[in-house]
Symmetry: C2
Protein backbone atom coordinates (compact mmCIF):
# COMPACT_ATOMS: atom_id res chain seq x y z
CA UNK A 1 0.00 0.00 0.00
CA UNK A 2 1.41 3.36 -1.05
CA UNK A 3 2.11 5.80 1.79
CA UNK A 4 2.46 9.57 1.69
CA UNK A 5 5.52 10.44 3.76
CA UNK A 6 7.63 13.44 4.55
CA UNK A 7 11.05 13.37 6.05
CA UNK A 8 14.02 15.53 6.76
CA UNK A 9 17.23 15.84 8.65
CA UNK A 10 16.30 17.92 11.67
CA UNK A 11 18.29 19.71 14.35
CA UNK A 12 17.56 18.95 18.01
CA UNK A 13 15.64 22.23 18.16
CA UNK A 14 13.38 21.24 15.29
CA UNK A 15 14.84 22.99 12.23
CA UNK A 16 15.44 21.48 8.77
CA UNK A 17 17.44 24.51 7.55
CA UNK A 18 18.77 27.78 8.86
CA UNK A 19 16.67 30.96 8.61
CA UNK A 20 17.76 31.65 5.02
CA UNK A 21 16.56 28.21 3.80
CA UNK A 22 20.01 27.25 2.52
CA UNK A 23 22.18 27.66 5.64
CA UNK A 24 22.90 25.21 8.43
CA UNK A 25 23.32 22.34 5.95
CA UNK A 26 26.96 21.69 6.88
CA UNK A 27 25.78 20.83 10.40
CA UNK A 28 22.55 19.12 9.40
CA UNK A 29 24.07 16.89 6.71
CA UNK A 30 27.37 16.04 8.43
CA UNK A 31 26.03 12.49 8.96
CA UNK A 32 25.92 11.96 5.18
CA UNK A 33 29.73 11.79 5.25
CA UNK A 34 30.29 10.52 8.81
CA UNK A 35 30.73 6.83 8.05
CA UNK A 36 32.48 4.20 5.94
CA UNK A 37 29.61 2.68 3.97
CA UNK A 38 28.96 4.14 0.55
CA UNK A 39 25.39 4.71 -0.58
CA UNK A 40 25.10 5.73 -4.24
CA UNK A 41 22.57 8.42 -5.00
CA UNK A 42 21.93 7.92 -8.69
CA UNK A 43 24.56 10.49 -9.64
CA UNK A 44 28.00 8.99 -10.38
CA UNK A 45 29.75 11.94 -8.67
CA UNK A 46 27.60 11.99 -5.51
CA UNK A 47 27.90 9.24 -2.91
CA UNK A 48 26.93 9.28 0.75
CA UNK A 49 29.37 7.74 3.24
CA UNK A 50 27.43 6.76 6.31
CA UNK A 51 27.34 4.16 9.08
CA UNK A 52 26.04 0.67 8.22
CA UNK A 53 22.83 1.34 10.19
CA UNK A 54 22.18 4.55 8.24
CA UNK A 55 23.10 2.86 4.94
CA UNK A 56 20.55 0.11 5.54
CA UNK A 57 17.95 2.71 6.45
CA UNK A 58 18.68 4.81 3.34
CA UNK A 59 18.63 1.78 1.03
CA UNK A 60 15.22 0.81 2.41
CA UNK A 61 13.87 4.32 1.92
CA UNK A 62 15.20 4.56 -1.65
CA UNK A 63 13.69 1.19 -2.50
CA UNK A 64 10.26 2.07 -1.11
CA UNK A 65 10.17 5.55 -2.63
CA UNK A 66 8.35 5.79 -5.96
CA UNK A 67 8.15 9.53 -6.52
CA UNK A 68 8.87 12.84 -4.78
CA UNK A 69 6.71 15.93 -4.32
CA UNK A 70 8.14 19.37 -3.63
CA UNK A 71 7.25 23.05 -3.83
CA UNK A 72 8.51 25.53 -6.37
CA UNK A 73 10.88 27.16 -3.87
CA UNK A 74 12.86 23.96 -3.31
CA UNK A 75 12.92 23.34 -7.06
CA UNK A 76 14.27 26.87 -7.66
CA UNK A 77 16.79 26.82 -4.77
CA UNK A 78 18.32 23.59 -6.09
CA UNK A 79 18.01 24.71 -9.74
CA UNK A 80 15.98 21.57 -10.36
CA UNK A 81 18.81 19.50 -8.85
CA UNK A 82 20.74 20.07 -12.06
CA UNK A 83 18.16 18.20 -14.15
CA UNK A 84 17.23 15.17 -12.05
CA UNK A 85 16.76 14.56 -8.32
CA UNK A 86 19.76 12.81 -6.66
CA UNK A 87 17.44 10.04 -5.45
CA UNK A 88 16.91 9.30 -9.16
CA UNK A 89 13.13 9.70 -8.95
CA UNK A 90 10.56 11.77 -10.77
CA UNK A 91 9.65 14.92 -8.84
CA UNK A 92 6.13 16.37 -8.87
CA UNK A 93 6.52 20.14 -8.37
CA UNK A 94 3.62 22.15 -6.90
CA UNK A 95 3.76 25.58 -8.53
CA UNK A 96 1.58 28.48 -9.66
CA UNK A 97 3.16 28.55 -13.11
CA UNK A 98 5.28 25.93 -14.86
CA UNK A 99 8.80 27.05 -15.82
CA UNK A 100 9.44 27.94 -19.45
CA UNK A 101 12.68 25.96 -19.73
CA UNK A 102 11.19 22.50 -19.16
CA UNK A 103 9.60 20.17 -21.70
CA UNK A 104 5.92 19.32 -21.26
CA UNK A 105 6.68 15.63 -21.38
CA UNK A 106 9.47 15.17 -18.83
CA UNK A 107 10.25 12.04 -16.82
CA UNK A 108 12.32 14.13 -14.39
CA UNK A 109 9.75 16.76 -13.40
CA UNK A 110 5.96 16.96 -13.50
CA UNK A 111 4.53 20.42 -12.75
CA UNK A 112 1.11 20.65 -11.12
CA UNK A 113 -0.48 24.11 -11.00
CA UNK A 114 -3.80 23.18 -9.37
CA UNK A 115 -2.77 22.66 -5.76
CA UNK A 116 -1.51 20.04 -3.33
CA UNK A 117 -4.41 17.59 -3.66
CA UNK A 118 -3.94 17.25 -7.42
CA UNK A 119 -0.17 17.02 -6.92
CA UNK A 120 -0.56 14.12 -4.48
CA UNK A 121 -3.08 12.41 -6.80
CA UNK A 122 -0.60 12.70 -9.67
CA UNK A 123 2.21 11.45 -7.42
CA UNK A 124 0.14 8.41 -6.32
CA UNK A 125 -0.45 7.59 -9.97
CA UNK A 126 3.28 7.67 -10.74
CA UNK A 127 4.27 5.83 -7.52
CA UNK A 128 1.98 2.82 -7.99
CA UNK A 129 2.58 0.53 -4.98
CA UNK A 130 5.56 2.56 -3.84
CA UNK A 131 5.67 5.52 -1.44
CA UNK A 132 5.34 9.24 -2.13
CA UNK A 133 7.93 11.49 -0.44
CA UNK A 134 6.89 15.10 0.20
CA UNK A 135 9.36 17.97 0.95
CA UNK A 136 10.12 20.59 2.23
CA UNK A 137 8.41 22.02 5.27
CA UNK A 138 5.70 24.21 3.78
CA UNK A 139 4.55 21.68 1.19
CA UNK A 140 4.61 18.91 3.80
CA UNK A 141 2.52 21.18 5.99
CA UNK A 142 -0.03 21.77 3.19
CA UNK A 143 -0.17 18.03 2.69
CA UNK A 144 -0.63 17.48 6.42
CA UNK A 145 -3.37 20.15 6.62
CA UNK A 146 -5.22 18.47 3.75
CA UNK A 147 -5.20 15.18 5.70
CA UNK A 148 -3.01 13.51 3.06
CA UNK A 149 0.12 12.75 5.09
CA UNK A 150 0.64 9.25 6.55
CA UNK A 151 4.14 9.32 8.00
CA UNK A 152 6.83 11.70 9.19
CA UNK A 153 10.49 10.59 9.07
CA UNK A 154 13.01 12.47 11.16
CA UNK A 155 16.78 12.13 10.94
CA UNK A 156 17.64 13.81 14.22
CA UNK A 157 21.12 15.33 14.46
CA UNK A 158 22.90 16.63 17.58
CA UNK A 159 23.00 20.33 16.81
CA UNK A 160 21.01 23.34 18.00
CA UNK A 161 20.61 25.84 15.16
CA UNK A 162 18.78 28.37 17.34
CA UNK A 163 16.54 29.52 14.52
CA UNK A 164 15.45 28.29 11.11
CA UNK A 165 12.78 26.54 9.08
CA UNK A 166 10.60 24.09 11.09
CA UNK A 167 9.98 20.54 9.79
CA UNK A 168 6.26 21.02 9.13
CA UNK A 169 6.40 24.76 8.50
CA UNK A 170 4.94 27.14 11.06
CA UNK A 171 2.30 25.25 13.03
CA UNK A 172 -0.51 27.61 13.93
CA UNK A 173 -3.05 25.21 15.39
CA UNK A 174 -0.76 23.14 17.61
CA UNK A 175 -0.32 20.98 19.50
CA UNK A 176 -0.23 18.29 16.78
CA UNK A 177 0.19 14.78 18.16
CA UNK A 178 1.77 11.93 16.21
CA UNK A 179 2.00 8.20 16.99
CA UNK A 180 5.23 6.38 17.60
CA UNK A 181 8.05 6.43 16.90
CA UNK A 182 7.26 3.37 14.81
CA UNK A 183 10.95 3.09 13.96
CA UNK A 184 14.18 4.03 15.79
CA UNK A 185 17.66 3.33 14.42
CA UNK A 186 20.87 4.85 15.64
CA UNK A 187 23.39 5.81 12.97
CA UNK A 188 26.64 7.72 13.37
CA UNK A 189 25.77 11.33 14.20
CA UNK A 190 22.09 10.77 13.48
CA UNK A 191 19.03 9.07 14.97
CA UNK A 192 16.52 7.81 12.40
CA UNK A 193 12.93 8.06 13.65
CA UNK A 194 9.54 7.54 12.00
CA UNK A 195 6.14 8.68 13.26
CA UNK A 196 2.58 7.95 12.10
CA UNK A 197 0.20 10.85 11.50
CA UNK A 198 -2.98 10.62 13.58
CA UNK A 199 -6.07 11.04 11.38
CA UNK A 200 -8.28 13.92 12.51
CA UNK B 1 32.96 11.32 38.59
CA UNK B 2 30.19 13.84 39.09
CA UNK B 3 28.60 15.18 35.89
CA UNK B 4 26.62 18.37 35.33
CA UNK B 5 23.59 17.42 33.27
CA UNK B 6 20.41 19.01 32.04
CA UNK B 7 17.43 17.17 30.71
CA UNK B 8 13.84 17.65 29.75
CA UNK B 9 10.91 16.17 27.98
CA UNK B 10 10.94 17.88 24.60
CA UNK B 11 8.48 18.11 21.72
CA UNK B 12 9.64 17.12 18.23
CA UNK B 13 9.91 20.83 17.42
CA UNK B 14 12.24 21.44 20.33
CA UNK B 15 10.06 22.89 23.08
CA UNK B 16 10.04 21.91 26.78
CA UNK B 17 6.88 23.92 27.52
CA UNK B 18 4.31 25.99 25.70
CA UNK B 19 4.79 29.75 25.30
CA UNK B 20 3.34 30.50 28.76
CA UNK B 21 5.88 28.21 30.50
CA UNK B 22 3.15 26.08 32.09
CA UNK B 23 1.14 24.95 29.04
CA UNK B 24 1.70 21.97 26.78
CA UNK B 25 2.48 19.71 29.73
CA UNK B 26 -0.46 17.37 29.08
CA UNK B 27 1.12 16.51 25.72
CA UNK B 28 4.73 16.59 26.88
CA UNK B 29 4.23 14.44 29.98
CA UNK B 30 1.71 11.95 28.57
CA UNK B 31 4.49 9.33 28.61
CA UNK B 32 4.67 9.56 32.42
CA UNK B 33 1.33 7.72 32.56
CA UNK B 34 1.52 5.73 29.29
CA UNK B 35 2.72 2.40 30.72
CA UNK B 36 2.23 -0.28 33.34
CA UNK B 37 5.38 -0.01 35.41
CA UNK B 38 5.18 2.17 38.50
CA UNK B 39 8.09 4.43 39.35
CA UNK B 40 7.76 6.10 42.76
CA UNK B 41 8.80 9.74 42.91
CA UNK B 42 9.46 10.23 46.61
CA UNK B 43 5.94 11.52 47.16
CA UNK B 44 3.46 8.83 48.33
CA UNK B 45 0.68 10.35 46.19
CA UNK B 46 2.73 10.76 42.99
CA UNK B 47 3.77 7.75 40.93
CA UNK B 48 4.76 7.54 37.29
CA UNK B 49 3.34 4.68 35.22
CA UNK B 50 5.65 4.11 32.30
CA UNK B 51 6.98 1.37 30.02
CA UNK B 52 9.64 -0.98 31.44
CA UNK B 53 12.30 0.68 29.26
CA UNK B 54 11.40 4.14 30.58
CA UNK B 55 11.19 2.84 34.16
CA UNK B 56 14.70 1.42 33.97
CA UNK B 57 15.92 4.69 32.50
CA UNK B 58 14.22 6.78 35.22
CA UNK B 59 15.51 4.53 38.02
CA UNK B 60 19.05 4.92 36.70
CA UNK B 61 18.71 8.70 36.50
CA UNK B 62 17.26 8.96 40.02
CA UNK B 63 20.05 6.80 41.39
CA UNK B 64 22.80 8.81 39.74
CA UNK B 65 21.30 12.21 40.60
CA UNK B 66 22.70 13.80 43.77
CA UNK B 67 21.21 17.28 43.65
CA UNK B 68 19.18 19.57 41.38
CA UNK B 69 19.79 23.17 40.28
CA UNK B 70 17.00 25.45 39.05
CA UNK B 71 16.18 29.11 38.57
CA UNK B 72 13.85 31.20 40.67
CA UNK B 73 11.10 31.14 38.01
CA UNK B 74 10.77 27.35 38.12
CA UNK B 75 10.82 27.44 41.91
CA UNK B 76 8.04 30.05 41.94
CA UNK B 77 5.91 28.39 39.21
CA UNK B 78 5.91 25.12 41.14
CA UNK B 79 5.53 26.87 44.53
CA UNK B 80 8.72 25.12 45.61
CA UNK B 81 7.17 21.77 44.59
CA UNK B 82 5.04 22.00 47.74
CA UNK B 83 8.08 21.84 50.01
CA UNK B 84 10.35 19.23 48.44
CA UNK B 85 11.19 18.24 44.87
CA UNK B 86 9.35 15.09 43.68
CA UNK B 87 12.70 13.44 42.89
CA UNK B 88 13.33 13.69 46.66
CA UNK B 89 16.55 15.67 46.20
CA UNK B 90 17.89 18.95 47.52
CA UNK B 91 17.40 21.79 45.02
CA UNK B 92 19.90 24.62 44.64
CA UNK B 93 17.92 27.68 43.51
CA UNK B 94 19.70 30.46 41.58
CA UNK B 95 18.00 33.70 42.59
CA UNK B 96 18.63 37.41 43.08
CA UNK B 97 17.04 37.39 46.53
CA UNK B 98 16.22 34.46 48.80
CA UNK B 99 12.51 34.06 49.67
CA UNK B 100 11.42 35.21 53.13
CA UNK B 101 9.37 32.10 53.90
CA UNK B 102 12.25 29.60 53.89
CA UNK B 103 14.58 28.70 56.75
CA UNK B 104 18.30 29.51 56.31
CA UNK B 105 19.23 25.94 57.10
CA UNK B 106 17.04 23.85 54.80
CA UNK B 107 17.77 20.39 53.42
CA UNK B 108 15.11 20.90 50.73
CA UNK B 109 16.31 24.16 49.17
CA UNK B 110 19.61 26.03 49.09
CA UNK B 111 19.40 29.57 47.67
CA UNK B 112 22.44 30.98 45.90
CA UNK B 113 22.35 34.71 45.10
CA UNK B 114 25.81 35.05 43.53
CA UNK B 115 25.25 33.51 40.12
CA UNK B 116 25.39 30.23 38.23
CA UNK B 117 29.05 29.39 38.89
CA UNK B 118 28.62 29.56 42.65
CA UNK B 119 25.36 27.60 42.37
CA UNK B 120 27.09 24.79 40.47
CA UNK B 121 30.01 24.81 42.93
CA UNK B 122 27.53 24.47 45.82
CA UNK B 123 25.66 21.74 43.94
CA UNK B 124 28.89 19.77 43.31
CA UNK B 125 29.64 19.97 47.02
CA UNK B 126 26.23 18.54 47.92
CA UNK B 127 26.27 15.91 45.12
CA UNK B 128 29.63 14.35 46.03
CA UNK B 129 30.21 11.54 43.51
CA UNK B 130 26.69 11.81 42.13
CA UNK B 131 25.41 13.95 39.27
CA UNK B 132 24.04 17.49 39.27
CA UNK B 133 20.79 18.02 37.31
CA UNK B 134 20.17 21.55 36.00
CA UNK B 135 16.72 22.86 34.86
CA UNK B 136 14.95 24.60 33.15
CA UNK B 137 15.98 26.09 29.85
CA UNK B 138 17.38 29.48 30.81
CA UNK B 139 19.41 28.20 33.77
CA UNK B 140 20.68 25.28 31.70
CA UNK B 141 21.65 27.82 29.05
CA UNK B 142 23.58 29.94 31.60
CA UNK B 143 25.32 26.79 32.73
CA UNK B 144 26.11 25.85 29.14
CA UNK B 145 27.41 29.37 28.37
CA UNK B 146 29.69 29.21 31.41
CA UNK B 147 31.20 25.97 30.08
CA UNK B 148 29.88 24.00 33.06
CA UNK B 149 27.48 21.60 31.33
CA UNK B 150 28.61 18.02 30.54
CA UNK B 151 25.48 16.30 29.24
CA UNK B 152 22.07 17.00 27.75
CA UNK B 153 19.28 14.43 28.20
CA UNK B 154 16.27 14.62 25.92
CA UNK B 155 13.03 12.70 26.37
CA UNK B 156 11.65 13.22 22.87
CA UNK B 157 7.87 13.00 22.51
CA UNK B 158 5.82 12.80 19.29
CA UNK B 159 4.09 16.16 19.40
CA UNK B 160 4.61 19.47 17.60
CA UNK B 161 3.75 22.35 19.94
CA UNK B 162 4.38 25.00 17.25
CA UNK B 163 5.77 27.51 19.75
CA UNK B 164 7.14 27.51 23.26
CA UNK B 165 10.23 27.48 25.46
CA UNK B 166 13.33 25.93 23.83
CA UNK B 167 15.40 23.31 25.71
CA UNK B 168 18.49 25.47 26.14
CA UNK B 169 16.71 28.82 26.09
CA UNK B 170 17.08 31.10 23.09
CA UNK B 171 20.36 30.25 21.38
CA UNK B 172 21.89 33.43 19.97
CA UNK B 173 25.28 32.15 18.85
CA UNK B 174 24.21 28.95 17.11
CA UNK B 175 24.85 26.50 15.68
CA UNK B 176 25.83 24.58 18.82
CA UNK B 177 27.05 21.06 18.10
CA UNK B 178 26.80 18.19 20.60
CA UNK B 179 28.27 14.66 20.51
CA UNK B 180 26.18 11.54 20.35
CA UNK B 181 23.61 10.46 21.15
CA UNK B 182 25.58 8.48 23.72
CA UNK B 183 22.36 6.77 24.75
CA UNK B 184 19.11 5.85 22.92
CA UNK B 185 16.24 3.95 24.53
CA UNK B 186 12.73 3.66 23.19
CA UNK B 187 9.95 3.87 25.78
CA UNK B 188 6.22 4.06 25.16
CA UNK B 189 5.44 7.47 23.66
CA UNK B 190 8.97 8.72 24.33
CA UNK B 191 12.52 8.30 23.03
CA UNK B 192 15.22 8.75 25.68
CA UNK B 193 18.38 10.32 24.25
CA UNK B 194 21.58 11.66 25.83
CA UNK B 195 24.20 13.93 24.24
CA UNK B 196 27.65 15.06 25.37
CA UNK B 197 28.50 18.75 25.35
CA UNK B 198 31.53 19.57 23.21
CA UNK B 199 34.03 21.67 25.17
CA UNK B 200 34.85 24.97 23.47
Amino acid sequence: MSKITTGATMSLDGFIAGPNHTDGFDHLFAWYSAGDVEVPTGFPDMTFKVSEASAEHLRGLLERMGVLVCGRRLYDITSGWGGRHPMDKTVVVVTHKRPDDRPEDDENFVFVTTGIEDAIAKAREIAGDKDVGVNGGEIARQCFDAGLLDEVHVDLVPVFLGTGIPLLGQIKDGPVTLEGPTFVTQGKGVTHLAYRVVRK
